[in-house]
Amino acid sequence: MTMSEPTSEETVPVRLHVNGVTHDIVVPPRRLLSDALRHDIGLTGTHVGCEHGVCGACTILVDGAPSRACLMFAVGAQDVELTTVEGLTHEDGSLSPVQQAFKDCHGLQCGFCTPGFLTTIAAGIRDNPDPDREDARDMIAGNLCRCTGYQNIVASVLRAAEIQREEEAS
């Protein structure tokens, strides 16, 4: 084989369940789940920052648990339910409590980190519907934001929990 000859890489069929919809794609086994979501399925809400698990921008829910999409392979995610930021919106298209809270409290500036915060907090207030400030800080400690200084994100967590409680009461 000469250098100029293209090397063919093995690809595998992969079936992903994302936000309640099934997607069939064909990708090399090394395709990161974050890239499969963005490039193969076209759900570009999941952002990619560091690609080694540190920044949290790619955080999605795997069977409901916040997980780094950049630390999973698409081929390994076939038997689980994936929820991306696109899947957080209510069925009628209205904003979910976390999304509304970020809007109310100015929880974002450039918005790059926001999808990862939204998924993380959505699971956070599901598991702890009445967080205090300390819980809120703890909830978001694994996600990095370069713009906000975090104060408004902490406020957004508390507000999101409040909206969620109101929604549940009504």
């Binding site: 890489e9 093995e10 595998v12 090399p28 086994p29 090394r30 990161l32 890239d35 690609e51 080694h52 698990g53 949290g56 955080t59 795997v62 648990a65 916040p66 997980s67 780094r68 950049c70 630390l71 999973m72 392979f73 081929v75 390994g76 993380t120 703890d138 909830m139 400690a141 694994g142």
Partner: protein, 295 residues
Amino acid sequence: MKPAPFTYRRPTSLTEALDLLAQEPEAKVLAGGQSLVPLLSMRLSSVPVLIDINGLPDLARVTVDDSGVRFGALVRHSDLLAHEGAAAAQPLLAAALRHVAHPTIRNRGTTVGSIVHADASGEMPMILRLADGTLTVASSRGRREIAARDLFVGPLETSLAADEIAVEAFVPALPAGSGVAFDEVARRHGDYALCGVGAVVALDGAGSVEHVRAGYVSVSETPAVVDLTECFPDGEMTARTLAAAGEMAVGQLDPESDIHGTADYRAQLARALTARVLKAAQDDARARAAQKVSS
């Protein structure tokens, strides 16, 4: 960056996984992926074949009895941390797991994977050493148990053979009369520790210190455990004996400088944390003894 190409296999039985590994000794096991995938993405490592063990639900079990806690290779940090029986039998587990990364990482990372990864900056390899645990490994040649003291042979290096898969770890229950504590200093909660210390302190019937062991994170090449009993000849923890214990421990450690802290600073953290954690472990032992008497 992206990982280099590899072939992916997802066995549905342990036998199948072991056969695959026997045929391809260069293959690597994928558990939680929270250490392996970054290494592959940064191309610090590459593999011809990845054997994903996430299709082996038998490895996701935690069992607790009087002798201790047994957890399989697919038990996530978050599951072990939430396991009340495990925390009651060996409180060191939960005390240290709280400091392993952030909840999102703990949701996928496995405790056995962390032990096999053998990072001396990881909390759980040290805890296995400190609690005198064992790792059960399997290959197509059979099974064997490796004592923690024989497991960690170098930086990120264990005594597992290339064709062996770790199936479960065992951590003995806390003996009666003992107490534990763990604390660490990190730049941010959930980050790798600049220095972390765990301790087991045993008291005799009269409440006097009988036996003291401490384990250290991020200040040595392999997970370090030091017997500090001799620093407490008359069984009392005083400012003086605790300082002596810190000094003795630091003498056996070998902290390194990096961008986050100098070797001297890490040594100073080890001294300060030793005193704090040993005292807390003694308090814990006393509280447990009091609880036992009252119940």
